[in-house]
Amino acid sequence: MNLSLLKRGAHAIVEAVESSHASDAIAQRLRELGFVQGEPVSVVAFGPLGADTIAVQVGFTRFALRRSEAARVRVSLQIA
């Protein structure tokens, strides 16, 4: 599944970041920011008005992402 489908408080592990098109700068930046295989990731909060913005914690850093950005991140749920 991808990051934009994760529920609040659920913990997952990043598998990969998929480029949505050739030379996808956003995907490249996501990888540089730490969305790499094996990193723990979770959703901290959803934004108002339709939850189109997501605050996530990856590794030790918190980021604000849009759904379309988070959708590039493929994750696997952790069975806690």
Binding site: A25, I26, Q28, R29, L30, E32, L33, G34, V36, P40, V44, A45, F46, G47, P48, L49, G50, A51, D52, T53, A55, Q57, G59, F60, T61, R62, F63, A64, L65, R66, E69
Partner: protein, 623 residues
């Protein structure tokens, strides 16, 4: 050991955003900073100087924060170019000081490894060691140093002696550049290895972050908190600055009286009292309010709240065609549109950035505050609404709100009728919460105050004198029946402008004051002070302006001027920045034209509304 006689060392501070680089730069260079621009772009160039214990001079360049050498914005492009030595006007640094956040090495060390490929001498500065200590993070500095092949020092930028280790390290000979890693190395994997060997982290997040973000990022409660913060800011600006303003007012009046008493009646006295003191004094009075506003914005910035506000507002702003990233530039525009427009460099997409630049002047800048304060003081009664909130503060808040709502509307219209869709990224870091550091806030405030005073001293003084001249000459002949100023150049210009401005209720005095207001918004107040001071016969009347206009203008005129100023075309300095940022005179012309149109229409509506209100009040009063 490098001797004091040798040439200065050129170092550059480099690091991810939010590593405390600015605080470290302030700690190293103190007040010896010079802020300018990189040639050809509107990225800020910050340089400072310091003397090492050995006496050697060091020039410190504070490079824009960057996540990687794969530049995603003009800021990051500058950082990359300076490191590569690709800029003709900027020498390659002798030494890179990589500033990293010791509480987040997982993210920050990756950039260090990337920079190590450049073959430049490097130092790593583990900053925020105090926060790391509080969170129980243990870093084996020597092991990290050995594994990296780069000297590592610990710094606490916010402490007085917190950069001692860095200064000592700078006094040594330049370290050899680190051995580059094989080009295909997985940098994140390498960082994992370093952390496993040298760093112990008890928990992934700080407790304070979890506790605060639970409420601040909450969709409903977070919005309430945001509204409360904004409202508090505006109420405070209007109420708390009072005692300071009174002090300045008293000094200005005293200065005027002193000169009136000691100088003979004549041109010189008139120039000094009616021109200079009335003009400059009436604007100085608003310095406390402007500083208070900046204080709030700086504290919000330093605490880490602003990106969270952008997170909350992104969806709403996106509906209008603006990105959440536009929030910080737009918020800065409340203080002054110039740094606000310059801050749009963090918005990658050119069309998104252009839109934010065009809309930024609608955020009521602090220069309009003197005009608002004057008019609200003169026309809005000093009452309390519901026993809680001052009516005057409420009106001020409403004025700001109208500006914001118009900005959203304008952006929406542009999006609706513009071409193509905007593919921007939000992708914003939410840094750890931290207490704003008083010293850094103070340095920021002093910078702001000095810019304001330079404007007062420079443009406003010159314009006050010019206006005094225009208003005093030619002097009327003995048989002239009207006031002296009507006969002067100023009077003629003002009456000529009335063709355009009479329908919105502006009398010729206001028209005259609007012209110098183009150079600097605050000048409108000083211009009116000058015009009325002269008309009134020469007493030092800077602080008496409010009652004068309250008595002479109709409610409609007062409200019309208020409405005008929400949208009024901006000062020349802002136009110059827009020209620089967009590289286009067309944009400047469009900006002037649409703001003028908006201002005129708003003033028209307000004038007639005011007229109706006066009628209602008069009717109610007589019953």
């Amino acid at each position: 050991m490098n001797s004091a006689a040798s040439s200065p060392l050129h170092i550059a501070l480099i690091g991810n955003p939010n590593c405390g680089k600015t605080a470290l730069f302030n700690r190293l260079t103190g007040s010896r900073q010079k802020v300018a621009n990189y040639a050809g772009v509107t990225v800020e160039r910050k340089e400072g100087a310091l003397r090492l214990p050995s006496g050697r001079l060091v020039r410190v360049l504070d490079l824009p924060g960057a996540y990687s050498l794969n530049a995603a914005s003009p800021d990051e492009a500058i950082t990359r170019d300076v490191c590569l030595g690709a800029r003709a006007d900027e020498r390659r640094p002798d030494l890179l000081v990589c500033v990293v956040d010791a509480t987040n090495l997982r993210l920050h060390l990756r950039f260090v490894l990337e920079l190590a490929q450049l073959g430049l001498p490097m130092l790593v500065s583990l900053n925020m060691m105090d926060a790391a200590g509080r969170r129980g993070i243990l870093i084996d500095r020597e092991k990290l140093q050995a594994l990296l092949g780069i000297p590592v020092v610990e710094t606490i930028a916010i402490r007085k002696d917190g950069a001692g280790a860095l200064l000592a390290a700078l006094d040594n000979n330049l370290p050899a550049p680190p051995a580059p890693l094989p080009s295909e190395t997985d940098l994140h994997g390498a960082v994992q290895g370093l952390l496993a060997a040298a760093v112990t982290v008890p928990r992934r997040t700080a407790e304070i972050d979890d506790a605060l973000d639970r409420w601040v990022l909450h969709p409903v409660i977070g919005m309430l908190i945001l509204s409360a913060v904004m409202f508090l800011m505006f109420q405070a600006v209007f109420s708390w600055a009072g005692p300071f303003q009174d002090a300045i007012e008293t000094s200005v009046a005293a200065g005027g009286n002193f000169l009136s008493a000691h100088l003979p009646v004549g041109m010189l006295r008139s120039l000094l009292v009616d021109g200079v003191i009335a003009g400059v004094g009436s604007v100085l009075i608003f310095l406390p309010q402007i500083l208070l506003l900046f204080l709030f914005i700086l504290c919000l910035e330093e605490s880490g709240y602003l990106p969270r506000a952008a997170f909350l507002l992104d969806r709403a702003m996106l509906a209008s065609g603006l990105s959440g990233r536009a929030f910080i530039p737009l918020l800065s525009s409340f203080a002054c549109a110039i740094p606000g427009i310059m801050a749009t460099r963090s918005i990658q997409h050119p069309r998104d950035r252009l839109l934010t630049i065009m809309v930024a002047p609608l955020m009521t800048c602090s220069a309009r505050l003197p005009v608002y304060a004057l008019l609200i003081g003169a026309f809005i009664p000093d009452r309390t609404v519901l026993g809680l909130v001052g009516l005057q503060g409420l009106v001020l808040f409403a004025l700001y709100l109208v500006g914001i709502l118009t900005a959203l509307l304008v952006a929406w219209i542009v999006k609706r009728f513009g071409s193509g869709h905007v593919d921007t990224a939000l992708l914003m870091e939410l840094p750890s919460w931290r207490l704003p550091n008083p010293r850094d806030i103070f340095i920021g405030l002093v910078e702001r105050a000095s810019i304001f005073i330079k404007r007062v001293g420079g443009i406003i003084l010159a314009l006050s004198v010019l206006l005094w001249f225009l208003a005093s000459f030619p002097a009327p002949p003995a048989d002239w029946h009207g006031t002296a100023i009507e006969y002067s150049f100023a009077g003629h210009i003002g009456r000529a402008m009335q063709v355009v401005f009479a329908p919105i209720g502006f009398n010729w005095q206001i028209c005259v004051a609007l012209i110098p207001g183009l150079a600097a918004r605050e000048v409108a107040v000083s211009a009116m002070a000058t015009v009325y001071a002269i008309s009134g016969g020469g007493d030092a009347a800077a602080a008496q302006l409010a009652p004068v206009i309250a008595a002479q203008w109709s409610l409609g005129t007062g409200l019309a001027l208020l409405a005008w100023y929400i949208y009024a075309p901006q000062c020349l300095s802002t136009l110059a920045v827009i020209r620089r940022e967009t590289g286009s005179w067309r944009m400047v012309a469009i900006s002037l034209a649409y703001l003028f149109a908006l201002a005129w229409v708003a003033a028209f509506i307000a004038f007639h509304l005011g007229g109706m209100l006066s009628g209602v009040i008069a009717g109610a009063g007589s019953s």
